[in-house]
Point group: C2
Chain length 348, copies 2
């Protein structure tokens, strides 16, 4: 046989190292009952010693697994994904898994392609961050029993393993913070509703307004495009309406930075005249120069929880038959870009 020239660890190598016959090694690998415990230990420690510990090849011989995970992210240059990937890679390594990273640029065709590649590469499980709501073809993977978990965003299929933030709650925290500071006119800047994150944050925004008996007005909401130009245009135009906003709730920290600039260009001061709150709490947002009030995604909790579930799916094949769905509780990070509603709105 010439099965895989690159994979040079054979039963013979192990047999030589353990000082037993190849047949014995075969028996150990196949869990044959006729092998003495002391012999089995000798073989297993030979397997462990070949190469380095943990040896993915020796292990794959024993467990029928490759010790690799696929992590598919929408955009690794987005700090939220980079900071999350760091946690997942480090934690997976500690548990003996390597991570193959894929980047889809948030494109559904790429996502399908990357999934095929990773299956082809025989990864033990896949974490997908992030799908859009109509990417329901990933359900096939779940139905096939292959270990797969959605991270940060979900599809419209309720039967998938997933770890997401409680986005509705996050939006309510943000609106509630602004209302308590006296703001009644809160503009919402968000992304397209095809992403569950933005969809749920919009729902949370609406619910919170209702809770405080404030009207929901479509013209106060921007959720079309994410470019700076579009956001700047919207911010400019919103100040010409009858009763303009005194505060902005942005659905990501990056969007909040755009709003901060657009507002500054109009000669308005943050937070003295306009309050701004973001969503994500990427590292740079706590940099004192930026000091953005925001909703923390609890990245570490989210990442560790998703990895734990994925490894459970891989390692305990008969457990977790039902979809496991975790919602992490967000946290309000009060910093320097929000304050009590000031004069500007009183003068109107």
């Amino acid at each position: 046989m010439n099965e895989l020239q690159t994979m040079k660890v054979t039963e013979n190598d192990i047999a030589k190292m353990a000082g037993v016959s190849q047949t014995t090694v075969s028996r150990v690998l196949n869990d044959h009952p006729s092998v003495k415990d002391s012999t089995r230990q000798k073989v297993l420690s030979a397997i462990k010693e070949i190469g380095f510990t943990p040896d993915p090849i020796a292990r794959s011989m024993v467990t029928n697994r490759t010790g690799t995970l696929g992590l598919i992210v929408g955009d690794i240059s987005n700090p939220f994904y980079a900071e999350t990937a760091k946690i997942i890679i480090g934690s997976a390594r500690n548990k003996g898994y390597d991570v193959i990273l894929s980047d889809t640029d948030h494109d559904s065709d790429s996502l399908q392609k990357e999934i095929r590649m990773l299956l082809n590469r025989r990864v033990d499980g896949i974490m997908i961050a992030s799908v859009n709501r109509w990417d329901t073809y990933v359900s096939e993977l779940y139905q096939s029993g292959f270990p797969v978990i959605l991270f940060n965003r979900t599809t419209d299929d309720p039967n998938m393993h997933s770890v997401i933030l409680d986005n509705e709650q996050g939006a309510r925290l943000a609106v509630s913070h602004l209302v308590k500071l006296g703001h009644k006119r809160i503009s919402f800047i968000s992304g397209p509703s095809k992403y569950s994150t933005f969809y749920q944050r919009l729902e949370g925004y609406k619910l919170a307004l209702k809770q405080y008996h404030l009207p929901y007005e479509e013209e106060m909401v921007f959720n079309e495009n994410l470019t700076y130009k579009d956001i700047e245009k919207f911010v400019k135009s919103i100040f010409s309406i009858h009763d303009p906003p005194t505060s902005f709730f942005a659905s990501s920290d990056h969007m909040a930075f755009f709003v901060m600039d657009a507002v500054a260009r109009m000669g308005l001061k943050v937070p003295e005249e306009i309050s701004i709150i973001g969503f994500d709490d990427i590292d740079i947002s706590s940099n004192p120069y930026i000091n953005l009030t925001t909703i923390s995604q609890q990245k570490k909790k989210m990442a560790i929880s998703a990895l734990d579930i994925l490894l459970s799916l891989i390692e305990n094949e008969d457990r977790l038959k039902k979809p496991v769905q975790v919602r992490i509780v967000p946290e309000l990070m009060i910093r320097g870009t929000t304050s009590m509603k000031q004069m500007i709105s009183l003068c109107k």
Copy 2:
């Protein structure tokens, strides 16, 4: 034999699909001359069709390669590495390679461990971003003929493949920009010299001062710690010296943000009273709210060049016997944090 239970593609599978004997498949895989061209084509297309295209396992049977690359970064949550990794992963994918990502937290022990893991995983080549100058044990990899390239930072061993920025030139561009704006007192904020990047930027800073007949003064240089607190302390203290700086050159954009904040806390305005220039040009620096003047690392050029060399090392084994060392030319990005030297210094 029971070599690798996870790897189920056998010569038999290919033989069946191609409608030839297993012996013929063996001959094709071993490049035996007695196989007819039409038969060889049948076998190769059967290999191609097994699973999906490109099939890393079928390919590894033909090329003795796994189609995986190791990318070791110092810190994926640092935007410079995240943005670079995105380019490398996307470009590698287009060329049929998957990337296993490792994160060392800039720790030398972790680096050694990650290298062993990746070799153990049988990656075809490794890109290391970033070493410190004394991590010379990576030279052994180079000497063994294994495809390895250093990215962004080099060790003190001159015999390694590497792609770095011309850091000296970058520092000279920065100082020169400030001098042309009238600044003669330029404080330099950098990191420890055990990293080639910071070492070379300090050299460039010194050379540029010399070129403009400005004195080099140690008290104007901070290159100990990278924490915000230390930088803030330094910035505060530097304004109490006899002839304080009117400008800061920071060795990374992140450090520049720290300086921007420390300066703002002292009641000084950027750029009206103090000019600040960074180094990196991470995405956020061009965000209009930050709008940092900086030195661009030309991430895309650096990443593509390093990947091309690594793939050459992998695919053309007899080429590139001598170390290939590329230095990418940096570019000055003039934005809103630098301006002509103003009143503040004239009043002293």
